[in-house]
Structures are given as structure tokens and as C-alpha cells.
Amino acid sequence: MNILWLQSGGCGGCTMSLLCAEDPNVLDLLDGAGLEFLWHPSLSEATGAEVRRMLDAVATGEQRLDILCVEGSILRGPNGTGRYHLLAGTGRSMMEWVRDLAPKAQHVIAVGTCAAYGGMTSAGENLTDAVGLQYDGGHAGGLFPAKWRSQSGLPVINVAGCPTHPDWVTETLLLLKAGALGNDDLDGLARPRFYADTLVHHACTKNEFYEYKASAEHLCEMGCMMEHLGCVGTQAVGDCNTRGWNGANSCTRAGYPCINCTAPEFEEPGHGFTETPKFAGIPVGLPTDMPKAWFMALASLSKAATPKRLAENAVSDRVTVPPTLRKPKP
């Protein structure tokens, strides 16, 4: 299968992340699966006129296209013209190009949260009128309407993440190649369920602190970051802590909060990214699927039961109290 990769209104970070794929490296991985780039902005030889001819050939149907990957949001501004991003050398907006090319592809993938939902590019006043391919923030319908389907019958597949994980992209591509990704394999926001059925909270190394509500008060402390530091790992989808990034790491493992970058509108939390909004001193926002009354009851109980080790380590930048060793049997 061939892949055409276009970079729209984004930072290029999802491509940079893709290059971090390991075991095997991304080039060997795609080769091995029978996937090849028709063109990729960072990897292909073709530049300028050659690329324009290739794009025209896809648009007219002369060149087959299996998978269209779009990275970055679609800029509709100013005034609906899309001219905040003209595809270099063509005099046409990326918005128009994607509108022309997507119907030709068997599958369309939105790579990263910008392409999926608008993402960081749509933050603030959204000066450029940025949207995702098939979503405008959390609302279905972006550049393409909610009912739009690619030739394969699937909606735009949203491999959301900021950046997205290299494996989320490669495994989506490989599943498509194998014919093993259908409608039921996408969640309610069209994200592949193989990573969206998990929460960032799963396997977070701060879980024991979470259990006892032993909270960090400042970044760099070891405790749970939900109560004070804006962490929404209990609500965010992603297998970040089970799969690991760049080795076996994640945001929470590096001591800063999960900001829910796989979700629509993460760019506008309505409060500082590293602070937890509170009402009457109690954090607003519950762990996913947790009944409020139970959560409150359990939280106050577990907080009362916090072992000294966790209470002290939670507000320390390193383990100051190690686990107690069991005494040997007499």
C-alpha cells in the first residue's frame, strides 16, 4: 500500500516522533509490512515540480492512493479562504488540496491531535480558524462533515496525541494493511481503540501515591499530581505508561502532569495546564467512570490512612523513606 503524507497547520512533531519508532526502525518497519511512501515531506527525494505533478496525478485519479496521512490542523482562515496556509509552489490552500485528495484515498488518517480535532493550532482566539479533518474540537464535523467516509467506509481515523506516539501511527498503518481495523476498532472520537481503551493512569508509577491521595504540592515532587498540579491521567486515554515513550518513559514519570493531549480541546483546559481547578478546596473533575460520592468517600478514607512513607515521599523530590523490610521469620 502507498502512503501520501501531507503536513498542514502543525509543528511537524508527529513526524519527528514517528522517526523515534524502534524495533525495528521506522523505515525497516514500513518496508517489512509492504507500506511505502508515495511522498513524505521529510523522507522523500522529490521536491518542487515533481511533487506538484504527483499531487495532480492523485487528484485526477491517474495515480492510485491507498492511505492519506494528514499531520497538522486545517487552517480555514482568513475568511474561509484557507490562505493562512498555501501549499508551497501551488498557489492553492492546503484546505483545498486535502478536500480534493481525501476522496481519492482508501483510508484517511489524521496524525496527531491538530489533524484530528484542531489541537494546539486552534488555541486561544483561534485566529486561523483551525479545525480537524472531521472534528471541530470535540464536535463531529470539521473540514469534512460527520457522516463523511473514505472509500474504505471508515471515517477519518484520529491517531490523536501531541505529539502522537510513533507506535500508534505505525500500528494503525499495519492494521490497515492487514485489513484488521474496522469501525468497531475506533472509539467514539474515532481514535484506534488499541491505545484509546487504556487510561494514562494505568501503570503510572505514582499509582501508590494516588491510592492514598498523597499529593505532590510542587512539580518535581514525587506524589500524585491530580490534586494540585493539573494531572488528568485518570481521565485521559492513552497507553503512555504501559507502552512507554522514548525508552520506557512518560510525562508523569518525568514529574509533570498528563494534560490529556489525546483529547479534543486539551489546548484550552480553562485553567493553567499545571494547576488543578478546585471548588471549595476540592478538585473538580473525577477519574473516568468513578461515581462522585464513592470517590469522595474513598478519598477521605485513604487520605486518613496514608502511610508515613508515602506522605513524606509525596512532597520530596526523591525517595527519602524506603519501603519497610519484613523481619525474617524467627
Binding site: 526502525n25 522523500s44 485566529l127 518525568a254 493553567g272
Partner: protein, 474 residues
């Protein structure tokens, strides 16, 4: 005279279009257009200043840590504090890893593949380049991608992930490394050194950084560095794309005792400190409204009409009214490395690429030194209280050169945020005086063969600058 429009211009970061006027088989004028505007500076207005640490890295997926480091320094400056010394060291190490990754990705993935093109078939070196550097295929690319992914484990360990870490803060870094972590990082660095010495240089890094003259450089025949030097000479491309001889560096990697690579300017032999007050962003040829301004007083108001006469979303930064080239070569010229100074005179494609290779070797050695100096028993982050009102400046060196953030805060919210990125300097359009930006000037005289619609010489020259277009306009 004929006009050529070159784009989409790939194997650069982001979207780039260049309009060329061609006369008598050579470029007579060039106009660079950064065709993507996102408006990051506007996005931050009204938000809490700490949000800049989450938002600005997302300007760029390849210079993410550079943006992060500049924002953290600007906030520290706003608060009038220095980060915890060990935190500054870890931030510097994270930044070095990114810059080294960018240098090696540029050489292997972006720059060298042009020499594998069919246009060079038949040359006695072409078969070797085909095997090593065919775009998306060559053995050097595959190995480089693996070595880079392994090296970025260091960012994973200290920063959680790459790109877009939130680990670098005004008071230091969020992750306190243990002695065991530092040992692992040392192992990753040694593996990377082994890669560089076996593949890129074909020799000891210490021997490469000991080169002091162009003659000595030309005698370096091993590794992919040697292959590049041979090919640059054989094709005549090494001498193309001469700059104006004015170089700028803000100084890289601030540590408690000073910057690892000092900042300054070099104007055809004359050294000076950077006069930050003398920076202006001209917008005469940018689709921007307003007046030329210092970044502490600047604004970003896009011209929705995209008026005639302007041709890019990129503003044109000038220092004392003049253009400056920035990047690895500029940085090492300013530092005073003998080889970089020797290359300053030629200032073309070979000089830029060799300057980057030189810095790759130098930075690896600096990373090893810095790692040995990190004391795991110390504090890595101090708590910083930001004032409700004030201003701050953060300047760093991204892989591609001088990067500055200028922040103003009023009633606890960002009231002004201006960014000048390295490629804003290098790929700026003309200014009110009609002076072309650095790459526009460097392209004049580039040979264009009969029938070429995307001239190869132009590609070599443009890529020798290693542009990052997403940073350029932001």
C-alpha cells in the same frame, strides 16, 4: 529573464516556497516565502505566563526543547531568578541532545540525499552515495534513525518524551535523576559516540575537532564526513551559496558558570557582543500590519488581505539594521574554533555543513563532560514565584541558531509575547531598505541548467542552511 516557483520544498522542516528570477543560467534574485501562519504569539495573550511552557514547545516538533528552554529562561528572567544549578545542567543536557539529534538528522535525512539523485549518475562517487544516502532508503539513513532514537532515550529518561516535554521549568527540571539514571545516560552517550566515530566521522571525535585549517579538513577522507567533503568538491556545490560574512549567536547552554558556547557577532572578522536593544523586526515585505519594532514592543497582526508587495508571513529581523546568518557555523565562528574561523571566509554550502559536523563532535564531548559534572544529591528545581507584572527575555541557541522569547506580563496574564527564531533570521524576506534576507542573498548566482524547473544548486544551498519553517513564522 525567467521566473521559477520552487515548492513544495521538502526535506526542510515545514513548508517553504522560493521564487527565483533566472538570467543567463544563474539565479539573479530570490524571494523566500514561509507560507504557513499559525499565530502562536497571539494564542498566548491573556493566558497565565506558565502556560508558555506547554504552548511554545508546540511551535516546533524538531526544536521543541529549544522553544521550551527559551520560554523557561524568559520566565526565570521575569521572576529575576536563576534555575537551580543542577537543574540548569540537566536542561542544558536535554537541549544538547535535541541539537545533536537535529544536526545528525539534517545531515543524513535532509541534506545528503540530494547527491543520490539521478542527475549525478555516472560520477565515480555516486554508487557509494546511492547505497548510503538514497532518500528514505540508504544504509546511512537507517542507521542514523536508529542511533537517533536510541540517543533520545536520554530525553525520555529526563524529560518523559520527545518532542514536547514539560520538564524544563524556570526553577530547574521536574525530574530528579538518580545516580543509576546518570549511569544509564552515560551508556547511551557512549553508544552514540561509537555510532558517530564508526559511521559519521570514521575516526576519533577528538581528531576531528583538532582540525584547524581548510587544508586539514580536506585531508579528512573517512566516514560519511569524508564522503561529503569529496562530493562537495567534485560537484563544485561546496563553494556555492556564500553568505555575507556576518554571523550571530546568542550563546548556547547557560550554566551557572556561563554559557558553554559563548554568544556574540562576527562581522567579517570583527567580533562584538550582541546588542539586544538594536534588534528590530521589519515587516515591510511580510503579510503583517503595524510598524517595525523591537520584540519587547512588537505585535503580530496578520494582513488578511495578503497585500501585493509583501510575499511571506515571516518578519525580517535585523540587528543594527543588518542581516545576520545564524546556525552551527555561526556559533562556532563566534566561539572562535579555528576550523570554523577558517571556514568563515568561504561561508558557503561546505562551510555550513562542515560547521554542523564540527559542532556534532564538539557537543558530544561537551555532553560527556556535563554528565560527569551532575551531582545527583543536589536539588534540581527551585520554586519560583512569578510577579504579577513585568517583562522577561529568554535567549538560547537552537540547532539552527539564535532563538529569543520576549514576554510581558500584566495583572498575572501574558500581555505580550514575541519570538524570533533562527530561521526567521536566515529566511527573512526583504526589509524596507530592499536588502534581501540571508538565504535570498546566498542564492544569487546559483547555476540553473537548461530545462531545470527545481534547480539542484538551489536545493543544496537552501538545505545547507537547515531551515525550520514552522519556527520561522510560528
Amino acid at each position: 529573464m525567467t521566473t521559477l516557483l520552487v515548492g513544495p520544498f521538502n526535506r526542510v522542516e515545514g513548508d517553504l516556497e522560493i521564487r527565483l528570477e533566472v538570467q543567463d543560467g544563474a539565479v539573479s534574485a530570490a524571494y523566500t516565502n514561509s507560507p504557513l501562519f499559525r499565530g502562536f504569539e497571539r494564542m498566548m495573550l491573556g493566558k497565565g505566563p506558565l502556560d508558555a511552557l506547554t504552548i511554545t514547545p508546540r511551535i516546533c516538533g524538531i526544536c521543541s526543547i529549544s522553544q521550551s528552554a527559551a520560554a523557561a529562561l524568559a520566565l526565570a528572567d521575569l521572576a529575576g531568578v536563576q534555575p537551580a544549578p543542577e537543574g540548569a545542567k540537566v536542561a542544558a543536557l536535554l537541549h544538547m541532545i535535541e541539537n545533536v539529534s537535529d544536526h545528525m538528522a539534517h545531515f543524513n535525512l535532509f541534506f545528503m540525499p540530494d547527491y543520490a539523485r539521478a542527475a549525478y549518475a555516472g560520477a565515480d562517487w555516486h554508487q557509494t552515495v546511492l547505497e548510503r544516502f538514497t532518500a528514505g532508503q540508504g544504509s546511512a539513513l537507517r542507521r542514523a534513525i536508529e542511533a537517533r532514537a536510541d540517543l533520545l532515550h536520554v530525553v525520555g529518561m529526563l524529560g518523559g518524551k520527545w518532542p514536547h516535554t514539560l520538564a524544563i521549568q524556570p526553577g530547574g527540571v521536574t525530574r530528579t535523576p538518580t545516580a543509576r539514571d546518570l549511569i544509564r545516560i552515560g551508556a547511551s552517550l557512549q553508544a552514540f559516540r561509537r555510532y558517530l566515530e564508526a559511521q559519521t566521522f570514521g575516526g576519533k571525535l577528538e581528531d576531528f575537532i583538532a582540525l584547524g585549517t581548510v587544508q586539514q579538513l580536506e585531508a579528512w577522507t573517512t566516514g560519511d564526513a569524508g564522503l561529503f567533503l569529496r562530493v562537495a568538491e567534485a560537484t563544485g556545490t561546496g563553494a556555492m551559496g556564500r553568505g555575507t560574512g556576518r554571523y550571530l549567536s546568542f550563546g548556547a547552554y547557560p550554566l551557572p558558570e556561563g554559557r558553554v558556547f559563548k554568544g556574540g557577532t562576527w562581522d567579517n572578522g570583527a567580533e562584538a557582543p550582541v546588542d539586544f536593544a538594536a534588534i528590530r523586526e521589519d515587516i515591510s515585505h511580510a503579510w503583517m500590519l503595524g510598524e517595525a519594532a523591537h520584540p519587547s514592543a512588537g505585535a503580530t497582526v496578520p494582513d488578511e488581505m495578503m497585500r501585493e508587495g509583501a510575499y511571506s508571513w515571516c518578519k525580517a529581523p535585523r540587528l543594527q539594521g543588518r542581516t545576520f546568518e545564524t546556525g552551527a557555523l555561526a556559533r562556532q565562528i563566534v566561539v572562535g574554533h579555528p576550523l570554523a574561523r577558517a571556514l568563515a571566509a568561504e561561508g558557503g554550502v561546505r562551510a555550513r555543513v562542515a560547521g554542523r559536523l564540527l559542532e556534532l563532535a564538539l557537543t558530544q564531548i561537551e555532553m560527556e563532560r556535563l554528565l560527569r559534572d551532575i551531582r545527583p544529591e543536589a536539588r534540581f528545581m527551585d520554586q519560583v514565584i512569578l510577579p504579577k507584572d513585568g517583562a522577561g527575555v529568554g535567549v538560547v541557541e537552537a540547532a539552527r541558531g539564535a532563538l529569543g522569547h520576549w514576554i510581558t506580563v500584566k495583572d498575572g496574564a501574558i500581555s505580550g509575547y514575541q519570538i524570533i527564531a533562527p530561521t526567521t533570521w536566515n529566511f527573512s524576506p526583504r526589509d524596507a531598505g530592499g536588502t534581501a534576507g540571508p538565504v535570498e542573498a546566498a542564492l544569487v548566482g546559483a547555476p540553473v541548467a537548461e530545462g531545470e524547473d527545481t534547480p539542484l544548486s538551489v536545493q543544496h544551498i537552501v538545505r545547507s542552511f537547515d531551515p525550520c519553517m514552522v519556527c520561522t513564522v510560528h
